[in-house]
Point group: D2
């Protein structure tokens, strides 16, 4: 941390900063320039944060240097991690396809969607039983019944399942059925939920908040890691910008940036960011080419009748093209499609 003194700060102001930092157990190094003095701090940054240095007389700015997350940082963990979900790896050497319906609607629909996904090369099944919806009047998911359907389809297909949990109270229930817990974009800073999934003994897929910086995303992962769970997969799914031609703006740069800052795997959701079927395949290609460790895609046997996000679900013809893409593109960037 660096404290930048104002140009009008006097010696007493500088000394007050030094004394406060030393009292708090840190070290302070003073650099004097022609117009400004800078104080470099060494020690426990969190503790310095509590000192309110910025509020002291003569202080112009406080600049943080160390990253505020530790467990998920690559600084102390240089090798990129592999997370295993029911035996299926997500990590740096492979490209894992996760696919399935946005919402579980019935055993038939879910099984059909799973078989479509599997035929396209998917090794993990996604499907929502609890759906967070902006409108209280929209379909909210089948709940526990949906979880049982997913478990049956896992029996049938052998695909481990990924499903969202939206309430800290439901974590045990969902963890008893699912192979991986998903935390959705609107819950990325629901700290009670992050702590609950951190203690649930299941890998977690953490979607980036559509309003969250990459740093805040990694801080949210740190909440989970702090509870002892390091099996976290980060999922970029688009951020909110001024552009309205797409539902959200897929921040494709976030993939290499997050992979450089953190050892955790990073995957991409091309279905929810674009919100349009025509964009799913192009965005999938971009995600694989940039080095994503996986992609998660909506498929539905009858999108025109889907209870949730039908307009973005892939259908038959698209799926053959998806199968070709996930087979041919990863080798060009030094990866292989994850096999069951």
């Amino acid at each position: 941390m660096v404290v930048v003194m104002a140009s009008e700060a006097d010696e007493a102001d500088v000394q007050a900063v030094v004394t406060l930092v030393e009292t708090a157990g840190g070290e302070a190094f003073v650099s004097r320039g022609v117009n400004r003095t800078i104080v470099g701090l060494v020690g426990d940054v969190e503790q310095f944060g509590a000192l309110n240095l910025r509020g002291m007389r003569g202080v112009n700015d406080v600049v943080r240097i160390s990253v505020p997350y530790k467990l998920v940082s690559r600084e102390n963990h240089p090798h990129r991690s592999v997370v295993r979900v029911g035996g299926v790896p997500i990590g740096p050497d492979t490209m894992t396809l996760i696919a399935g319906p946005c919402a579980v609607e019935s055993p038939e629909q879910t099984l059909q969607a799973a078989q479509m996904a599997q035929a396209a090369g998917a090794t993990l099944l996604r499907g929502g039983a609890f759906k967070p919806r902006t409108s209280p009047y929209a379909f909210q998911g089948l709940g526990e019944k949906g979880l049982r359907i997913l478990a049956e389809v896992r029996e049938e297909t052998g695909m481990p399942i990924v499903t969202e949990v939206v309430d800290a109270n439901d974590v045990d229930l969902v963890a008893s059925h699912a192979d991986m817990l998903q935390v959705g974009t609107r819950n990325m800073q629901n700290f009670a939920l992050l702590q609950a999934v951190g203690g649930a003994g299941r890998p977690v897929m953490l979607k980036r908040g559509f309003n969250a910086t990459i740093e805040e995303w990694l801080m949210a992962a740190e909440y989970i890691a702090q509870r002892g769970n390091m099996d976290i997969v980060l999922c970029e799914r688009g951020i909110r910008t001024f552009e309205t031609a797409t539902r959200n703006t897929l921040d494709i740069s976030a993939v290499p940036v997050a992979q450089r800052l953190s050892h955790l795997p990073v995957i991409v959701d091309p279905s929810h960011s674009g919100g349009q079927r025509e964009l799913v395949l192009p965005l999938t290609r971009a995600a694989i080419a940039i080095g994503a460790d996986g992609v998660i895609i909506d498929v539905h046997p009858h999108p025109e009748a889907a209870l949730c996000d039908g307009p973005q679900a892939l259908v038959d013809g698209d799926l053959r093209e998806l199968a070709r893409t996930v087979r041919d593109l990863p080798p060009v960037v030094g990866r292989a499609l994850t096999q069951a």
Copy 2:
């Protein structure tokens, strides 16, 4: 709702839309232009939403016309509401000052802050016992102990208390001590929490998500209202934009816009949006002048030692100026400062 057909759509495409809408119990009106056909829909919009009209052959766009919220809308409730918190009104004729420390740290600090607030004209006391923090390493609040401190300070000062709840599981506990429950910006779309406070029998202050549209904010209020609780106060606290000179950008226009769309009171938090002490008073003046029904402000007896957001807390000299402002400015816009 209006369905806009693509220029290449044929008669069969149009008929398919009409048939589907009528099957779903709605009415469809077809308008044919030289290049385009438009189908106007009348009926239950939520049901049409489930039809995935946008995914049908020949459909170019679907434009929603009615607002998607009902209970909080001003369309069916033309008069602006007054919400009473422990007897203190928040509504169209008054300007209510809510003030107190960002976080409850000790009985002494809380009492002192409450007395400072009261001297400045505040009739409601704010103070956080449960603090949602971006970093898992930051101070998270005193929890239940903080609630008891707040209750004691209410005894001493007579000020009803407003405090945040961050977890659906804590709603009953917080409601047993507090006069008003606050839902914070990061929880605006925590639907489990919204439903829980909707059933808690206490007025709710709903902060706008820092990346939420005004429409999403009103939809979040609708979640609370649906559980039978109409005592909701909306609080604008700044949105996330590209500008970094301020912590967030106070969306001052949101006050008249939300007041036109909804009958609920709308207040402003000038402390958290700016994140700087120097901005609190100017933003307070802007909020009162534009017609906010109240403002909520951080005060702290010793901001330099505050465990949370010290740099934005008002101190002694500022408070005298605040007292003048809340006394002199409301009458110019046809309001009076709310009295105890």
Copy 3:
């Protein structure tokens, strides 16, 4: 400027930075911490910028400390400036109302609008002869004919005129008729135009780019000031954000922030930011209360027939309310409405 070395940087990396800075005529101060070394630079920041320190081995980050603008900065010019436009002051003690039609359409319309403006308390007349339009198919203004109409209306009413210039080639022409040159939001970084108005011998109103940070806005003003013209008035007119309920989001905080960073007057355009007539008066009140040095408002005798931005122009009843507002509100914040 502070150079933050990476944790893996070695002594040679640090020395390379020091040597490069000293070769460039600067001073370098090295602060060593447990994990990181920081090098503080003193000297000509622009020159350091050209050194590409960020690209050197072992450098993690480069943090700028001094502000990058000088002539418009308040650091070297602590008193806030007054800019006079045809004798009418815009500055810290007054609140100046500038009003008139968005576009000059005819002598009658312009005179009527000017008389409406004057009756409401305006002392400067705005009106566009050259209009930058997003669509090449929209009305682009009357050009030189419009300038002559404005000059005639000035004769009739005694109001100095403010009008936009959109092309560096037109600066002399516009300056020969106008009392103040306006640079619009889309041209804030049209550097050729900035330099041209800097040499035109007329005060300049510089609108903030809807996509520009406050720092970039001040840098744009610096381009004008560098040509010897310090008679610059900054105009906040809303920024582009994700919110679509208003045309742009008025960044009301920018008023006190820009006034703290720069000595130049800062005014607000409440008409273009909101884009709706209902928002003009509320935003005007917020602007005056927060301490704007003026406001600039669209008025039109027949907004329903306006060729440009009719929906946001104030009409008769609104103007009486505007007159009351600009008379009664400034005194509450220690100012007086500027008189002719």
Copy 4:
């Protein structure tokens, strides 16, 4: 265009809209629902725009349906265009690499950079002689001298040249040396410049404004096309968002979206959006995979000494990897690297 009447609008309000539209030469179709009436308009949308329908009594909203650009739209020009620059094609079957230094600094540096670019597979040379800079104190380019250097390097290497023009007055000069004129992100809505390049008889590369919607970008292209110049290449270069980990956020989805809306070629600038050398290759891969018609990349023989944007210029090792990427990746998506 659809006019949505307010729920309280009466028959006279509806008739007033119909009459006005018909008077203006359009057709109006009225659809009556239970709560709302909708009026569909057919005819010249630009003319309707001038009617200020939104300002009429009883009108709630006006929804535009047709796209506001015509010449660049794919609606009337279904096949995607090929633009030739000095004989080099940019279009749907190829992937064209444009590379060179951000700024022309000297004959040696420019020639070296051109040879590096050519070795990597580039067939067009980029290089800036006129540089728009946020700070008036930064290097502004060599101007005409830079253009002559570029022309000499074209002689030497055979590569046609692409260079930026920042002032309408310089268009003829730049066009007399360059094979393609570049309009930069800050000038995307400099309408005088757009019109000037539209008449210059050279292909134009139009960078997207970093805060422009895709629709505004296409409208800017329409300004150029209106002057008779259809040889326009669109260049996505990142938009401004709240994320600060990258200089801008590359809107990768804009590539397929713009290609669907317009027949013009769309290329990507991975150097300026990320602003970091480490991101250039990953973003290049994403751009090629999603179907960009080309990429434009900064290279510099000695980035540590570059006068402009050195930190993002590719150097030796990167260039071998770039060469592999532009050779191996296009065939996977059905394209071939453009050959000289």
